[in-house]
Symmetry: C2
Subunit: 200 residues, 2 copies
Amino acid sequence: MTGLRERKKQRTRRALVTAALRSFQEKGFEETTIAEIAAGAEVSARTFFSYFASKEDVIFYDGPERMRYVLGLVAGRRPGEPVAELLVRVIRASLEWAVDPGNFDLAEAAARMELMLTVPSLQARALHVLFEQQLQLAEAVERAYEGELGALEAAAMVGSLVGAVKLTAVMSLTRGDSQEQVWEAITAAAEISMRGLSNV
Amino acid sequence: MTGLRERKKQRTRRALVTAALRSFQEKGFEETTIAEIAAGAEVSARTFFSYFASKEDVIFYDGPERMRYVLGLVAGRRPGEPVAELLVRVIRASLEWAVDPGNFDLAEAAARMELMLTVPSLQARALHVLFEQQLQLAEAVERAYEGELGALEAAAMVGSLVGAVKLTAVMSLTRGDSQEQVWEAITAAAEISMRGLSNV
DNA sequence: TGCAAAATTGCATTCAATGAGGTTTTCTTG
DNA sequence: CAAGAAAACCTCATTGAATGCAATTTTGCA
C-alpha cells in the first residue's frame, strides 16, 4: 500500500507546495517562476508539471479531499432531516474543516486565502473550483433526496446558500474584518438565504 | 466626439471579436492562436494586445456595458420598492438584455455561451467577471438603500439570488434543455431564493 | 501644409506548458 | 539477491501567450 515510492511522492508534492507558498509570499505569485519553485523543492522544472497541471493548481491541492468529506456528509444524512438543515450543516462543516489545525497549518491556510483574494488568476481559479464543487454537491443532494427533490431544485438551493455565504465572506474579508466578524457575517448570510429575500 | 479615429478603433475591435469567434468555432479555443485571430482581422499580432489583455478577454467584451445598464437600473429604483423586488427585476432585465437582438447577434450570443460552458479557462473567467459584478451590484444596492440595509446584508441577498440562478441555469443548459425550459428553471430558482430554503 | 498625438508594427524576450527520449530509482518475482 | 518491469525523473526542444521598446504610419488639428 504505502511503499517507499508512494511516500517519496507525497514528500515531493509537499515540498513543491511549501516551496511555492514561500516564494509566493516573498516575491508575489506572478513574479515567481516554475523554475524557482522547482529549485526550492530540489526537483527539475519538468517534474513540477507531473504533480500539478499549472502554477495555479499548487494552491488548490486540497480540493478533492475536501470534496470527499463533504459528499460523505451528504450521503450519510440523518433520515428525515430537511434539505435546508443538511445544507447549512454541510457548509458549516466544510468551512470548519478548512481551518482545522488537524488538516492544515494555520499560517499556511491564511497565506492561501490571502493569495486567493488578491491574485486575479487565483481568484478565477478558486471560483471555478468552487463552482464545480457546487454542481457535485447539488447532484449528491438530489441523490440523497431521491424522489423528494428535483435536480434543478437542488441546484437552486445549493446555489442560493453557497452564493450568499461566498459573496458575504469575501466582502467581510476584504473589509479587514476579524475572524469573529467574518464568522458572524457568514452566519447572518446563511440566515438570510434560509428565510428568503422577501423576508429581509 | 466620434471622429474617424474612434470609429476605426471600434471597427478593428469588432473585426477582432468576429475573427476570434469564427476561429474558436472552427478549430476550438485552445487551438486558435493569437496570430490567427490577428490575421483574420488584418492587424498585427501585437495590436491584438492593445485591444484585449488576453485571449479570454475577447469573449467578455460586453462586460462593462452590461454593468452600466444594471447599475443604472439600481440607481433609478422605484421609491419604496422592496430590495428583493428590485433585485429580481434587475436580474431579469440583465438576462433579457444579454439575449436582446438589438444588442447582439443571436448566433454570436449562442456561440459565446457555448464556449463559456465548455472551455475551462473561459468558464473560470466568466465566473470571475460575474463575481466582480456581484460585488459592484451589492455595493450599488447598499447605496440605493442607504440606512435601510447594511453592506453585508446586501451582499448576502445578491449572492443568494445570483447564486441560485447561476447554478440552476448552468445545470439546465448543460442538460440540453430548451430555451423555455431554461427560463422556467431560472424563474423557479429565483422563486426559491425569494421564499427561502426553509420553505421548500 | 505641417506638426503633435495616437495607433500600429516588428522585434526581442520571458515564461508557462507540453512532448519525446533517455536515465535513475523502486518494486516485484523467480 | 539478481534481473527485469514499471514508475519517477531529468534534459532538451518547441510552441504560444504576453510584455516592453523603438521605429513607423495614420489621424486630428492649427
